[in-house]
């Protein structure tokens, strides 16, 4: 931008008139706010893959911008505002903690569309979206229940929030279904990101007899610990972690935001965007199941794929009764499935899981 152009645009824009400004350069501008670095190899990495897919899909018709490692709170609010001021038409805010900031900024820019990941507050120009990772957990639980010989499955949690608890329950239900003796050992790391601590947690679980490790943290540390132990099964988390296939990593849950990001960008281009709540799973392709390797016996693999298919086509819901809560009270009656509200705020274990959720 030359100095003259700067002067000209300064004269032009006297307030927060952004929509007209955006149209003037003809491209649809899409902003992404990331909570971690693009190089985290997990959560943010996969969102950025989604961004790249948008660029690939629309080429010259779209311009994407992103800011990484944006702290939740006022920093995120500033970054979103800045993107909106700079003419973004659509902004994806990809962390739960961006919820209130997104709503605040959206109120100031009614012409800009916002998409907030994993939250529950919406507005006319704010949609929410999230993935039904628990569907993938059901398949992991099934394989885990079949593969464990010690009947101890280790689970590394980050923080005890509904997202993580839902995953534990889903995995446990399906592990118990195929193996009534299975037990879950759950260790909370109390951090989002500390690879060394994840490694420690995995080692501790293995030492305590776990021969399957499920993780709700994004580093490959547990994979490496399992590989060293030699006979421990793991699953990729967030990304495929194929570098540890075919064993210990026997399958994975992959966050695949690309289809959604492309569809929403298209909707803005076509002028058909409207506020909605999206919670997609395996069926819509938001939750990918990485290749199940040959380390899994053929019959178990077939069952897992059948389970995946039934979840994908909607004929089976991972939370289907009869199910009881940990304290023995009724959760779901025979044939009843959990509604999304219950799932979203899930803060209890199902019957059979030992230990308490830290409060």
């Amino acid at each position: 931008m030359t100095f003259m152009k700067l002067l000209a645009s300064a004269a032009l824009v006297a307030g927060m008139a952004t929509a007209a400004f955006a149209e003037s350069h003809g491209k649809t501008k899409v902003g992404f706010v990331y909570v971690g670095p693009v190089g985290d190899g997990g959560w943010t990495y996969e969102h950025n893959e989604g961004r790249l897919a948008v660029e690939e899909e629309f080429g010259d018709k779209v311009e994407t911008v992103f800011v990484e490692s944006v702290a939740e709170g006022p920093d995120s609010e500033r970054v979103m505002t800045q993107m909106a001021l700079d003419g973004a038409d659509l902004i994806f805010t990809t962390s739960f903690g961006y919820m209130d900031p997104t709503i605040n900024v959206a109120a100031k820019f009614p012409d800009v569309k916002f998409e907030h990941a994993t939250g529950y507050k919406r507005a006319d120009n704010v949609s929410t979206y999230s993935a039904r990772f628990y569907e993938g957990r059901a398949i992991q639980g099934h394989i885990a229940g079949k593969m464990t010989e010690s009947n101890i499955v280790g689970y590394i949690g980050s923080y005890p929030i509904p997202e993580v608890i839902r995953g534990i329950n889903s995995a446990f239900i399906h592990a118990r279904k195929v193996n009534p003796d299975v037990q879950f050992k759950i260790v909370w790391a109390y951090t989002w990101f500390d690879p060394a601590k994840e490694a420690d947690a995995a080692k501790v679980l293995i030492e305590q007899g776990a021969d399957v490790i499920l993780q709700h943290t994004d580093s490959t540390a547990p994979q490496a610990a399992a590989q060293e132990a030699g006979n421990v099964v793991t699953f990729g988390q967030a990304s495929d972690m194929a570098q540890f296939a075919p064993f210990p990593r026997v399958s994975s849950i992959i966050d695949d935001w690309a289809p959604y990001y492309i569809a929403r960008t298209k909707a803005v281009m076509d002028g058909t965007w409207e506020s909605k709540d999206t919670w997609d799973g395996i069926g819509a392709g938001m939750v990918g199941i990485g290749e199940i390797t040959d380390a899994v016996p053929a019959d178990v693999k077939d069952e897992a794929l059948a389970l995946k298919a039934s979840i994908a086509d909607g004929s089976y819901h991972p939370f289907t009764g009869p199910l009881k809560k940990q304290d023995g009270s009724d959760f779901l009656a025979e044939g009843e499935t959990a509604d999304d509200g219950t799932l979203a705020g899930m803060n209890f274990y199902v019957e059979g899981i030992e230990g308490d959720i830290p409060q």
Binding site: A196, V204, T220
Partner: protein, 307 residues
């Protein structure tokens, strides 16, 4: 439900060694630096530089040991920046160290952009043959990779050097009173610069232990605060090498212990278990601080030969 027998004491104690090794390297390096009277708060930055230099080199060459060598070089190279600032430009050490950490975190992330999601070559454990089958001793002491033993050897070497050699004497003299050391004809700045580079190299190896063995993978900021713990350990150790070892095992062990207790379902709230390593470190420090824990006399002070 709570079943402590699920904790295997041998594996539990063996785990200390692995968890403590990055801390030992970083802390013993910083100990030497501080013994010469220099406070370098940039340990975290030098560790992460070592982590990426070691990782990249190991991946490119296929040799983890070359990786560790590169990590030492990377850490030392970054520490030269600190040495230049504090020894030549006479800048404040606390601020320079913090700036070094900021710079190291950023620079390592830039270097590491193409190394995300790669698995590095593995460094195996040393084969002690039949010795490894000795009950108790075998699984606890003889089941590790070479870097673990190098770390312990380094502590012994630093202790012996400080205590018995002329070099150690000079080093301590510089740290205790740089003006007097200067008057005796010692090259204060040269000695300090060498110590700073040694500290950088050690921190680099410690960082690479995380990226190459402990985790092993490369992600931005993956040292996640270990460098700060290492700094605290030096103070904890009252600037004595063997106490560094003790402190590192204590700290590494406490982290292991809290995870183990969670695994067996001990009914203490997790958040209190998670904060216990830090609280216990404070308590131990209070107990230890009854005997002399005097810092090197010139620690953190700027030296300039004015006459």
């Amino acid at each position: 439900m709570m079943d402590l027998s699920a904790i295997n004491p041998l594996l539990f104690i063996a785990g200390f060694f692995v968890a403590a090794t990055p801390l030992i390297f970083a802390a013993i390096g910083e100990l030497v630096v501080e013994r010469t009277g220099v406070l370098n708060l940039g340990v975290e930055g030098m560790m992460i530089m070592g982590a990426i230099c070691g990782f990249a080199t190991a991946v490119e060459t296929g040799s983890p040991l070359l990786g560790f060598a590169a990590a030492a070089l990377g850490g030392a190279a970054l520490s030269l920046l600190f040495a230049f600032l504090t020894q030549v430009m006479l800048a404040n050490q606390v601020a320079s160290g913090l700036a070094l950490t900021l710079f190291g975190l950023g620079f390592s992330a830039l270097l590491g952009q193409s190394y995300v999601g790669i698995k590095p070559p593995r460094l195996g454990d040393i084969d002690f043959g039949p010795l490894a089958d000795i009950p108790v001793v075998g699984p606890i002491l003889l089941s590790h990779d070479i870097i673990v033993y190098l770390g312990i050897a380094l502590v012994v070497a630093v202790w012996a050097t400080l205590k018995f050699t002329r070099a150690g004497l000079v080093l301590r003299a510089v740290g205790e009173n740089h003006d007097a050391a200067h008057a005796l004809g010692f090259k204060v700045k040269r000695i300090r610069t060498l110590a700073i580079m040694f500290g950088g190299a050690c921190a680099g190896v410690g960082g690479a232990y995380i990226s190459l063995i402990r985790v092993p993978q490369w992600t931005e900021g993956m040292t996640a605060g270990v460098g700060w713990i290492a700094l605290a350990l030096v103070v904890f150790a009252s600037w004595r090498p063997f106490r560094v070892l003790l402190g590192a095992y204590l700290f590494g062990g406490l982290v292991q212990l809290q995870l183990n207790l969670q695994g067996v379902g001990v009914a203490i709230p997790v958040e209190y278990l998670a904060m216990s390593p830090y609280v216990i470190t404070i308590v131990v420090l209070v107990v230890l601080s009854r005997d002399s824990n005097r810092a090197p006399g010139s620690l953190g002070r700027i030296f300039h030969a004015s006459h």
